[in-house]
Symmetry: C2
Subunit: 679 residues, 2 copies
């Protein structure tokens, strides 16, 4: 059947007429859990019931990848609805018909058309897209739309026209500092696809580990990986898995800095000094590839040539950040080279290196991506700058004509709230850029650095916050309602759990491990009002290295837990206009903390791994009591005794100090509450 | 270093002297979570603190498999203690020294020596074993012994001498009716090793699916597996993974019955009629391989020959159960064959088939294992009978000289309590067997049939109950204290979760999926007093097939949940001698159910997948109120109003009727409580 054929027949016309009436009957207030929000959606009253006969048919353009996506969708709908849906791609007219114009790129490009439209009406559901990837985006939306309807499930009548705001919507996973096994990678890709992220930026080499097999240079993993690396077959499997989900894989091979693990194996490539072993500490290393030797380029040329046989994407990330090699300022041979090539300083030397690597990549038909530091007028305009320094740096690049993607603001190891990340826009309305320059901002990338994550905690650090950033990359800039975002984020987290992601179950499981018992009730209540400190604070307090065991309380608790938002929202609402409802809800939340405190303290005291949070457990009940007292004063409009506020503020100040590598989620709202008390 | 050398030097002598004093100071009442319990253990007062310098060294017999086991142990101790233990096999004297005599079998046999001794004293810990497998068993014990000691962890001073009661301690996983992905298999093996099970019986073919790749007969999986099968490379990986853990892999290829999936691909091998497709219904199929044709044996010979290249174990399981082929009683050609070979009935025909297959296996240097039905005097004595019919059948086999393993009593799909399985002994004291016959009982196997499990629920069906059966197979017959078993089982479950098994987190995750929300608090309380009905009851009530979606409430709740035991224990204790403490504990448990009921009912009513348990949710509060009232009457020694008991018993009788494919965990104790009320 040719594209569109079906929709000129009777059914198609009927559906179209209905659509028109739907739009006029559009209900903007139909509750939806969609994340990311589509560009345009109009609900109509009515639902399309899902029955055991429900089928998805492809009415145009037969494609194995699309069929696989349909089967995945059917499988998920089976689980979601309990219906014994047939595991087949329907032929002819199904309840959901997909019309796709073509496959899209043989290798998915930055310019892949991901747009789609989805119309659900009385006569069925129709998904139209220009490419298979677009259809997959639409299938994710369709799935998220499924809602309970009495004793069955249904799709609401809706008309959606959707396309991404940015073409580059990435997630960078650092598998260098801590290795992540293949199942983690796969479920991360599943989660990415669910929220329409489309670039998996695979950080494969670091000072702390070289994670990708090279058959030309096997010593790279033999000596630089502790045995933890991806074989080429596994990497190819990941690339295929990602392609099936409409996700590009951009590999990163850090050079010339962050290369300790390379140099363990090939010390002859080092700038004079070579490391004795894999770097275990974090922070910036001072080893670097030697940019002054031809052997280095020969090595890089052969290595990257080998890697392009595994990674088909048009882009290769060469890192390029934080290169600090003292020899570049002191070694006579290197200095002589710099003089000979008129390279005035280490930056110029690195630019020279980048130019040479760029030539290698160009010969391999690849584009270069690098961190801010590669930005140098000497480079041609087809490199992509990934900005960790901030929007300003990104915009400066765009003004100079460079394409860029924003990562500053999306560092998940900062343990910031979803709300904070949500507020960061790769292309703010006030950016001083021309239209042409604005188009150079390709999008953004979430960064999951792995100093302090391992395979057990990674999901809880990635999700659900990544879903919110994904929405920032996909949805129109004016989708900014934080309360709505929060509600949808929590629902999306349950969806993601259904895909096998473990962010929701992690905390309970980790708490049980920590105490060696299933009796975690009191501890859970305590944990619910606690969140991890940022990577930086933990690094300062605990001096973590790659050898640090990541099995502390801080590793169990989730960043940005629901309690933080609940305390903030209720307190703000209460302080705006003191009322009994908010007061009671807050009081009961704080009372629960007080009630659980003795049990939590006992559990913590008898668990060696928890000794560092005993202080926090002891602070908690007094702080909660402060909140309850403050609520009473403000509610009753009575004054607190003299000195009360100073005393309480001292308690809060004490609780703000570092302790247990974790922090309370309620200190901000509590402070405001105490401030509001009259004395 | 030669075996034992170390222990003739000063340190060794000191340790030995200390051991002597330890034994005399032995404390039988040191709490321990060990499961299975060792044959002999004596605690002494004192602990060996674990420090960051803790190391495990191998003082004799250098072996790669042992080194890997040591590294695994170190990794788990790192996670357990938070200590930055070095990921190396210590050389020379470590805090824990392992002395092993040799590797054991190149292919682990039934007669593998798994004994070990473990002595922890002031001067360190010493593990001695004859084989690497024995050392691995000891390492699991050592790990389980680790206990909190103030702000650190320690090994208690102890002297253990241990060896298994039975040499064949298996777990059968049916991957035919529902496929289980490789990660599930691997974590199942991890769990098995933790509780010292040593045979993974891999049920690879069924009417509902042929799950192992044959390169000679690729149509077997191409047409008989829905694409869900293990490649030979994956199977080899599983075998290697199991060997690393000291676990044998016995593959099962069901023949001549349970072979629908074979015959879909090769209809020419069928007894006259061939199936049209993979069987979706459960129950016994009436298709069978044709035992009267030479082509069948040629096929079996080549197929088994191919399989022996993947599965090195000395045993191959040929199934052999439930063979029902009407043609064996009606087809003229088959009847003629039977007459010609003097085979008087279908049983004789199957015995003929088995003899032919046995010859094939013998030529391949393999022993045969089969279910009860293969037992036939015509077979030689080196076949092993796996008894699903019961201890009697097993003993009958032993009396005839056949080796046997017991599976009746260990069917996990019966959803029975750990206690019931614990009570089943493969070799009861009263078995009418001679010493020689007793030795023919090799052990037992847990059976996990997969009509109603999938990869999401499998862990919650397998664990922790398998740990208890593992103890029955390993520990002395007189280890039977149920209360102690229950306590240790719950602790072991947390240990198993630390290995990646998901039985503890499954219920919450599944409940979230069912309602599409994280707000499961009330539903959880309701679920805590509910357990799944048996496979048979569910089959009756729901008419499940392979196509049934396994995402109902019944799939979320755990078999044998803690509440069942708590209700039973407290009620028994209360009824023995009514007292306020038990009454109060019971009252608060039942009151919690009442409190959660309205919320649970609301959640259930708005969740299409839960509609079938709304009835149960409505029954719950009245039943709980009955319990609370009964407690009051009995506690106060007052009489209930006339007719009260009849009324309450009617409520209970109603609640015993099928509903929602689940049952309450407290009905038995509640009934006793009501009976105890005076009227």
């Amino acid at each position: 059947m040719k594209p569109g054929t079906k929709w000129t027949n009777g059914v198609g016309v009927a559906a179209f007429c209905l659509l028109l009436s739907m739009r006029s009957a559009g209900q903007a207030d139909h509750p939806t859990n969609l994340m990311p929000m589509p560009k345009a959606l109009v609900f109509a009253s009515g639902q399309l019931a899902l029955t055991p006969q429900f089928a998805i048919s492809v009415t145009s353009y037969d494609d194995a990848r699309l069929d696989a996506a349909v089967l995945r969708t059917m499988e998920r709908l089976r689980m979601k609805t309990g219906l014994e849906l047939v595991r087949q791609v329907g032929h002819g007219i199904g309840a959901l018909s997909i019309a796709v114009d073509g496959a899209g790129g043989a290798v998915q490009g930055v310019d892949e058309d991901e747009s789609y439209s989805l119309d659900v009406s009385n006569s069925g559901a129709v998904l139209r897209a220009k490419t298979v990837v677009g259809a997959m985006r639409g299938l994710e939306t369709a799935q998220q739309l499924v809602e309970p309807a009495g004793d069955h499930y249904a799709l609401p009548f809706v008309s959606i026209t959707d396309s991404p705001r940015f073409p580059w919507r990435g997630l960078m996973l650092d598998c260098g500092r801590h290795f992540e096994p293949i199942p983690v990678i796969k479920r991360t890709l599943d989660g990415m696809a669910a929220v329409k992220l489309n670039v998996f930026h695979w950080h494969l080499t670091e000072d702390q580990g070289f994670r990708i097999e090279s058959k030309l240079y096997p010593k790279l993993t033999a000596m630089g990986s502790d045995g933890l690396y991806y074989t080429q077959a596994q990497a190819a499997e990941v690339v295929a898995y990602a392609r099936a989900l409409g996700i590009r894989v951009v590999p990163e091979f850090e050079m010339p800095g962050h290369s300790t693990a390379w140099l363990v194996a090939y010390p002859e490539l080092a700038s004079a000094r070579a490391p004795k072993g894999i770097r275990r500490e974090f922070g910036v290393s001072d080893y670097a590839l030697d940019p002054t030797r031809e052997e280095t380029y020969e090595f890089v040329r052969r290595f990257l040539g080998e890697m392009t046989t595994i990674f088909p994407d048009a882009y290769v990330h060469i890192g390029g950040d934080e290169t600090v090699s003292p020899e570049w300022k002191s070694d006579p041979r290197i200095l002589a080279f710099m003089q000979q090539h008129r390279l005035k300083d280490p930056d110029a030397l690195q630019a020279y290196f980048n130019q040479r690597v760029l030539k290698i990549l160009t010969a391999l038909h690849k584009h270069m991506v690098g961190w801010d530091e590669i930005l140098n007028p000497a480079l041609p305009k087809d490199v992509v700058i990934q900005s960790w320094r901030g929007e300003e740096s990104l915009q400066k690049g765009a003004q100079q004509g460079y394409q860029g993607i924003l990562s500053a603001g999306y560092y998940l190891d900062g343990m910031r709230s979803a709300e904070e990340h949500y507020a960061v826009d790769p292309l703010p309305a006030d950016a001083k850029l021309t239209e042409a320059q604005r188009r150079l901002v390709l999008g953004g990338e979430i960064c999951m650095w792995a100093e302090q994550i391992d395979e057990r905690s990674v999901d809880s650090r990635l999700w659900p916050r990544s879903a919110v950033i994904a929405e920032r990359f996909w949805s129109p800039a004016n989708v900014t309602d934080v309360m709505e975002m929060n509600r949808r984020m929590r629902a999306t987290s349950v969806e993601l759990e259904g895909l096998g992601l473990q962010q929701m179950e992690h905390e309970d499981a980790a708490l049980r491990e920590l105490i060696g018992s299933r009796h975690i009730d009191a501890l859970k209540v305590f944990a619910s009002a606690i969140e991890p400190v940022s990577f930086g604070e933990r690094y300062e307090q605990q001096k973590t290295s790659q050898l640090t065991v990541l099995d502390r309380f801080v590793d169990a608790v989730a960043p940005d837990p629901p309690s933080r938002y609940a305390f903030e929202r209720l307190t703000a609402s209460f302080l705006k206009a003191p009322n009994a409802k908010d007061a009671e809800e807050l009081r009961s939340m704080y009372a629960e903390l007080i009630k659980a405190a003795p049990g939590a303290q006992r559990t913590i005291a008898s668990s060696p791994l928890l000794t560092d949070v005993l202080g926090r457990a002891k602070q908690m009940p007094a702080l909660a009591q402060t909140a309850i007292d403050a609520l009473s004063f403000v509610s009753a409009g009575t004054k607190a005794p003299a000195g009360w506020k100073v005393q309480q503020m001292a308690l809060i100040a004490e609780a703000k100090k570092p302790g247990g590598i974790v922090r309370f989620t309620f200190l901000g709202p509590l402070e405001k509450l105490v401030e509001a008390v009259q004395e």
